[in-house]
């Protein structure tokens, strides 16, 4: 859980307002509360993802159209949530409705590629300046592929991630994510503290942590682990801590350090890809990594993710060194949504 410092003069009034508006929130949503009680008997915690749990209670959705969504109580909202940054196209966009409807009428799954997969990968290559792509189903899978690729290519065990950055919930990256200050260790040598249960220390110890926007400290940490370090994974714009843009020259500096030290560089653009510019932060800041991970907005509301890379990196998929696999990878419905 996030740790905060409560020290402002606004504190008492904030507490009063929160109390008042949480009561109003609950009063406006009795149908959501009823569904939550029903769901708690068959859905663990009454939700389909723990990220859906929030105070004062979960909002159950009904429908969306354009910029608006409605909950099961009939309350209408301007949707700036976008389903955690997915709905860049808005809800029920006619082009998405047409493409996905046409696709499902012709069959929705073959575990064989469809033409849309080629078209989407061509467009991603154009936007991100990386020639070869594969698809998966979630951002977690895309960053997992990136980590696996960095290890497979280098033959080294360790990766470096940024303190506080979220890259999905696979073992290697659930390290120093939402930990409190008391667990983070010294600022110049952040601890590889695990951020979830069920992940062995032996795995999280292989993830080295460095602070964001601090190239000097990062390079010193790289030096300490250089013999066994495969690469660096970073959100080019840190986006699970509000929005923290890269300092001037930071991304180019990362590119330079990783090249100089023989490390691979992966940009986790699950949140920034397509949303901060059509070609993500890669295009916006003009720094091209070895690997890019995409998800969220890519599918227009249909679950899909992608991992793209240089000829050298993705050649290890081409030659079978690394098996990037998945029954639903490039699912026809998903690439139809992406292709609009």
């Amino acid at each position: 859980m996030l740790e905060t410092t409560h020290h402002t003069d606004d504190g008492p009034r904030l507490d009063d307002l929160i109390d008042r508006d949480e009561r109003l929130f609950v009063e406006r949503q009795p149908a959501s509360a009823a569904l939550a009680r029903r769901a708690a008997r068959s859905l663990a915690g009454g939700v389909t993802s723990s990220w859906q749990i929030h105070r004062p209670q979960v909002v159950w959705g009904d429908r969306g159209k354009g910029s608006r969504i409605w909950d099961v109580d009939g309350n209408e909202y301007v949707d700036l949530h976008g389903g955690y940054g997915v709905m860049l196209v808005g809800h029920a966009h006619p082009a998405i409705v047409e493409a996905v409807s046409a696709r499902i009428a012709r069959g929705s799954h073959f575990a064989q590629p469809t033409e849309d997969a080629a078209a989407v990968s061509e467009e991603l290559a154009r936007r991100f300046g990386l020639p070869l792509w594969r698809f998966a189903n979630s951002g977690t899978e895309a960053t997992m592929d990136a980590v696996h690729l960095m290890r497979a290519i280098s033959g080294r065990r360790k990766i470096l991630k940024i303190e506080g950055a979220y890259h999905g919930h696979h073992d290697s990256v659930m390290v120093a994510v939402y930990n409190g200050l008391d667990e983070l260790g010294p600022p110049d040598r952040p601890a590889s503290e695990r951020s979830g249960a069920g992940i062995p220390r032996e795995i999280t110890d292989l993830t080295v942590v460095a602070p964001y926007n601090d190239l000097e400290t990062l390079e010193a940490i790289v030096t300490s682990h250089e013999d066994d370090l495969a690469g660096v994974i970073v959100e080019p714009v840190m986006m699970n801590a509000g929005i923290i843009p890269p300092a001037d020259g930071y991304l180019q500096g990362l590119r330079d350090v990783t090249r100089r030290r023989g490390l691979l560089l992966a940009f986790d653009e699950v949140k920034t890809g397509l949303t901060v510019s059509p070609g993500g932060a890669t295009q916006r800041y003009g720094v091209t990594p070895d690997i890019v991970c995409l998800g969220k907005a890519l599918g227009g509301g249909v679950a899909i993710s992608a991992v793209g890379g240089t000829e050298e990196v993705m050649g290890h998929i081409v030659d079978g060194t690394y098996d990037q696999v998945g029954t639903f990878n490039g699912n026809p419905l998903a690439v139809a949504g992406s292709g609009c």
Binding site: L2, T4, T5, H6, H7, T8, D10, R13, L14, L17, I18, R20, D21, E22, L24, F25, R28, W51, Q52, H54, R55, V59, S67, E76, Y77, V78, D79, L80, H81, G82, Y84, G85, V86, M87, L88, V89, G90, H91, H93, I162, E163, G164, A165, L181, L184, P211, Y212, N213, M239, A241, G242, I243, I244, P245, A247, K271, T272, T275, V276, R284
Partner: protein, 115 residues
Amino acid sequence: MVEGSQSVVRESGLPAHVVALGAKGCLVFSPSEVRNYRDHLAVDDRYSHCHWLIQHNGGVFLPPWGKAEQWLLSVQHSEEDVERFLENLAVFAKALRPQPTGALATPGRAAEKMK
């Protein structure tokens, strides 16, 4: 969206600033720049939760876990949508930094308009 938010923040004296890139943006409830995760931890998350509640009750659905998340403007959002967000932000600011009467600003005015 950005200019309007900055204007409300400036006029109200809220301890906040706006960060936006492309279709994404957020209000950071800190008067100073946040450069890394440790800076982020120091931000009082009651501001963002209170803001989230007032926006929600006023008919704007921002992402939960407001301190950590961002707004997303889609290709289908309109000026009217932005105005509703800014109106709610002003309600929040006024409620937090009230006029001399000390009365809490009425929440959910925008929501009432939708009925």
